[in-house]
Amino acid sequence: MSILIGSDTRVLVQGMTGNEGQFHARQMRDYGTQIVAGVTPGKGGQDIDGIPIFDTVSEGVKQTDANASIIFVPPAFSADAILEAADAGIKLIVCLTEGIPVNDMLVVRKHLDSTGVRLVGPNTPGLISPGKCKLGVMAGYIHKPGHIGIISRSGTLTYEVVHQLTSLGIGQSTCVGIGGDPIIGLTFSDLLCMFEADADTHGMILIGEIGGSAEENAARIIAESITKPVVAFIAGQTAPPGRRMGHAGAIVSGGSGTAAAKIEELRSAGVTVAESPAHIGRKMDEILSN
């Protein structure tokens, strides 16, 4: 098992005919993901390697029974793309776009809350259930099927952690990049609960960052209702306060949102926190070996 995606996930790609969309649609399909449809307004009726292109998401869903969507469209059109997917009945939307205005996301997120649609991202590399389904732009080959769930605000740092795990022979059930923006869909807390409920997941790795309070919220959820072991790393421990480190989220303001505060709350909740990013996989290995 795994969470959110598996071998029965039927994926529609929004922005399929762009460079990125096309490249990664092929990569995902080559990994084994069922890519059933693409959408690009004005390109309906064409196909890419046999994958049919539609002008609207509604048409694509009606014709192919797609149940998940991945979005490769420019920031100005991404909020609309998410809403279009939700409107068309897609239940899992992965939005990779970086640079969506936060005002747009406030409205989108509030709307999705009332619909039961799950959004991963935006500003995420996506998610993968190794060996079953890759719905994102991560390098598939570094992953290995197994029993650790990964939840991360960061993209490449996640690859690093996956790589460490795989090198240690530890596989992953599902790895989810929740995205680095201030307003995102699924959170650490949501996903921790999903992994807790997934019989095939034996432990979770949480990769946080300075800024915001997602890790503090996660610590609360962990203390309250997570029984499986959790290893965490917080990036930005040495970032100077008040500087913006690339993710809109990573602004340290006042005493809250610092790496120290997050680490302390996670430790209080029983989480094993790695100090160095080089040791994250090893910490999980130690826990699993006990």
Binding site: E20, H24, P75, A76, E98, G99, I100, P101, V102, N103, L106, R109, K110, H111, P125, V137, A139, I142, S152, R153, S154, G155, T156, L157, T158, Y159, E160, H163, Q164, S167, G180, P182, I183, I207, E209, I210, G212, S213, N217, F233, A235, G236, Q237, T238, A239, P240, G242, R243, R244, M245, G246, H247, A248, G249, A250, G254, G255, S276, P277, A278
Partner: protein, 388 residues
Amino acid sequence: MRIHEYQAKALFAKYGIPISASNTVSTVNEAIAAADALGYPVVIKAQIHAGGRGKGGGIQLAANTSEVQEAARRMLGMNLRTPQTGPAGRTVRLLLIEPAANIAQELYLGMTIDRCNRAITVMASSCGGVDIEETASSNPEAILKETVDPFLGLRPFQAFRLAHRLGLPFKTARGVAKSIQSLYRLFCEQDCVLAEINPLAITSEGEPLAIDAKLNLDDSGLFRHPELRELRDLNEEDPLEIEATAANLNYIKLDGNVGCLVNGAGLAMATMDLIKHVGASPANFLDVGGGATSDMIEKGVQILINDPDVRAVFINIFGGILRCDVLAEGVVAAANKLRISVPVIVRLEGTNVDQGRRILNESGLSFLTAADLGEAATMVAKAVGVIS
């Protein structure tokens, strides 16, 4: 993106938020002319992108022409240090001159994106003025809040309720509520992420008046506001950071000596953590982003090499959207063009890693390649001499 007080006030004027008449000047003579025209006493305020200016001598009251002359002479060109500028300070190039207002009370008004509630939060306090941050931490109840439902916007009743809870008399509360609504409209329409009026004065006539003005714009929203892009003041930024931004790189100068080039903000921060963990210190944060081209990589390497503080370069890439071959091409191109006199440690994994490694190996250049993060950290530490 940050903008200056005078720029924010121009937007305030457009949205009907009350401000004083004012003038922005860059010479002593202009300052005198402006002050004479506005009438005394005037307030002279240094225009830099940092708060706490009063504490550093960046805000001066002047009662007559000679005081203006003296203050403008002292302030223009000064290196203004405030608690927010850091020890480097900022050079003052522009002064805002406005008549000193008749202030009966100083309020605080702020708006920001509240990530917890996923909403814009409006904050107000009857304890406005310079020490609002202290108030926020020592006496958080003194900061009143209204959370804005993204679907409903800030409702008139919320703006009035906030003003009323400040303990203001009805007419003043109504005026303040109107300013709150105007600021909210500005916040949304101009894609702000932070707006502050501190202090929002209440004049002796009971009317609100924005004494200061701070607006931070959402960089991601700027595509909707080409006219706001024009407000960027490059003087307020590090030249290397400007160069980086022009190349679509996310670069921040720091005070260490290990130049870092990383893809992804999280991995870049983790790389800095790693460097610190082994006792070295990063010279910068440089995130080449997910979709970097080899040109961008080349530019990034060049920026690192051009930084005189850099004694070693650490390139840490985990290929995803950015493929390792693209990275390697960029690094090789940069190395071929530039005279690189410092050790370059490269750690490469991910998409097309084999092609990437091959390109580096076949370049004939002397890169130190690390197999994993741990090894890379050790190499970096050795290169800058913190371990031997």
